[in-house]
């Protein structure tokens, strides 16, 4: 299964991902309306992209009184027709990944398997990757780092 992975250390803060997402979903250029958000503070010196993790046991789904959320092929999907825009999902999301604006709920659906945000990132700070492969890569990187540390001692 493929998911979005973010790399804050590569993120430059430009928000092309959010703007592309909003343009794709709503026809407007508006970083605040993207289902992916870059939290950035150039004074505190950080840039962190925040995106829905597509949880296996998602709080948004569990607490939706309207049963607007379903999981389809590993992706947490909101049914617009069932949704009454109560914003409960956005309030409860532990990662603040669900956004609301003017009564509109904005929730990443991975663009049906071809996430638009990834295409506009110039540093690969967002990648759409197979979970197993990616975790293997990360474990390997961690193991190598541990080797380095033990070699230093």
């Amino acid at each position: 299964m493929k998911y979005l992975y973010v790399y804050p250390e590569k993120c430059t803060g430009c928000r092309e991902c959010s703007v592309a997402c909003a343009l794709n979903k709503f026809g407007e250029c508006n970083p605040k309306k993207g289902a992916i958000t870059v939290v950035r503070d150039e004074f505190a010196r950080y840039e962190v992209p925040i995106v829905c993790f597509q949880c296996e046991d998602p709080v948004c789904l569990k607490f939706c009184h309207q049963n607007a959320y379903t999981i389809e092929d590993g992706v947490v999907i909101r049914d617009e027709d069932r949704c009454i825009s109560c914003r409960m999902c956005a309030v409860l999301c532990p990662y603040n990944a669900v956004t609301t604006m003017d009564g509109e709920i904005i929730k990443c659906d991975l663009c049906g398997g071809d996430p638009v945000c990834v295409k506009y990132c110039s540093t690969e700070a967002i990648q759409y990757l197979d979970e197993t492969e990616e975790l293997e890569k990360r474990r390997k990187a961690m193991a190598e780092r541990l080797q380095e540390i033990s070699a230093q001692k």
Partner: protein, 609 residues
Amino acid sequence: MFNRKLGIVDLSKGKVKVSDTPDSLRKAFLGGRGLNSHYLYKMIDSGTDPLGPKNVLVFGTGFLTGTLVPNSSRFNVSAKSPESGILGDANCGGYFAAELRYAGFDRIIVKGKANRPSILYASDGKIEITDAKDYWGLDTTDVQLALKKDLGGVESAVCGVAGENKVRFACVRTGVKNAAGRCGLGAVMGSKNLKAVSAWGKDGIDIAHPEEMLETCAELKDYLMKSKITPILGSVGTPLLYEVSNAFGAIRTKNSQLNAWSDSLNAEEVEKYVDKMIGCSSCIVHCRHRNSLGGEGPEYTALGLLGSNLGIENTANVIELNNVCNELGLDISSSGTYLAWAFELYERGIIDRKVTKDELQFGDFELAKKLLHDISRRRGFGDVLAEGSRNVERFGPESKDYLITVKNLPQSDPHDVRYMKAFALGIATASRGADHLRSRPTLEIFFKLPKEVRERIYGKGVTNDPTSYEAKEKTVFFSDNIFAAIDCLGVCKFICHGFNSPHFVDYSWMKRLIHAASGWNLREKDIEEVGKRVIDTERMFNNREGITRKDDTLPKRYFDDPAPLKIAMGHHIDRKEFDGMLSRYYQLRGWTADGQVKAARKKELEAIA
């Protein structure tokens, strides 16, 4: 809506008017620098005191600012310049311009003078004028942090202490280091008692053809990323130019007494101080260095003007001076030029301790740092230096011979132009004074560029030799026009055709991006005409302030002192050849032999409303 509003603020009366920009004006100038210049020409009478209430200060975003278009982060701040006394204008990146558009505004025009320190807060299509008592006296970072604390996630364009004290080369700053640096526009803010313009908004920019914009921008991004120069700019930024220029002998050193300097300021040395490369809004290049000394930068300009030009070799020292200028809100190019000028005048005995108080010398980092603080607070000799090139009157006529300015504006970039004749014509004719960002014909020094490519871009007869004067007016004419057009679009010059690359965003790309965004079907020629219109409008402003052919000249040193070092050794600008090049440039522009915009053209441009 794709269009945003025009806000006109009268600080004297405390009134705000919100209106629309007529389509006829937008078609003629698109936005950004072009529309700003149009308003300056219409709204400022000749002879207006730049630091008086009658000066008009414009914050104008570009046509494409805040969209998906790569590098569309930019805005221009414009007013009559207190530094040069002619057209003042500076282009700036960061996040403020996009936020201003999301707040509902394309442009804010500020008139009059507030009776107490004030800020403007734009949000949801409205502008409030509020008290800035608690913000006055703060450095540029502190004031932005305070504004974020008090107003929420605002982006702000602010002046520093230097602007408050009307230092004639104070900049407007947004973020950690983005500056509308040139022409003393921070001093205009200070003179109006305006500490900051803040914006916050969630009003997205409706795009005429969303699919088309998504596709065109993806294609453009891939095209730009494939270029050799994009990844280099994204990893080392503009410092890469330092080594290139130094190899030629084209680095302004010790007030241009020398033309080459230490390798300690090469990009690889600077890189040791870089924590992360970051970008402006919508930027795919990300050339901004977050430095480990607490700030951002340095750019090539800082390395040259606060490094080699001051005789400072230590990389960390140069980065620190860069950070100090940013905090105080001082223009780095002007600061480095005036300090170096004073150092040389002191060495030559043209000024002495009666004026300077301290002993001045090149290479003295602590002295330079102290003087920057003193300038910003107008203390001691700093108060004198804060007057910039006006000090020629105080220091005596001989001092002018050593001042690296054109039309009273210090040269912006560290390029010693004695070797590169087209660069020389560019800074001599730029509409705001000595400046490379108006018209630098960079391809001049792309030696490996095939002749046919060079001629296709610049025109017939442009040689492969930077030292030749032949047909060089064409290179400046081309660059001046296309850079004006991209400034109107609010897109960074770094992705503009001819600025860093023989490829990148040309009129054909501009046409496609404009169509996707607005649905307008412009021809490439129409966009080129926008650029020409901007140049002529700016010239009309300057003509009205008395600018003629006599002012389109160079610092005396570039004519009379041959460069002493490296490849450029022995090169200088020949007055007669320069004069010929200038005449040919006027012919291309359709200006009179004395450098005036002709009456018919003037009438045509004045009729645009």
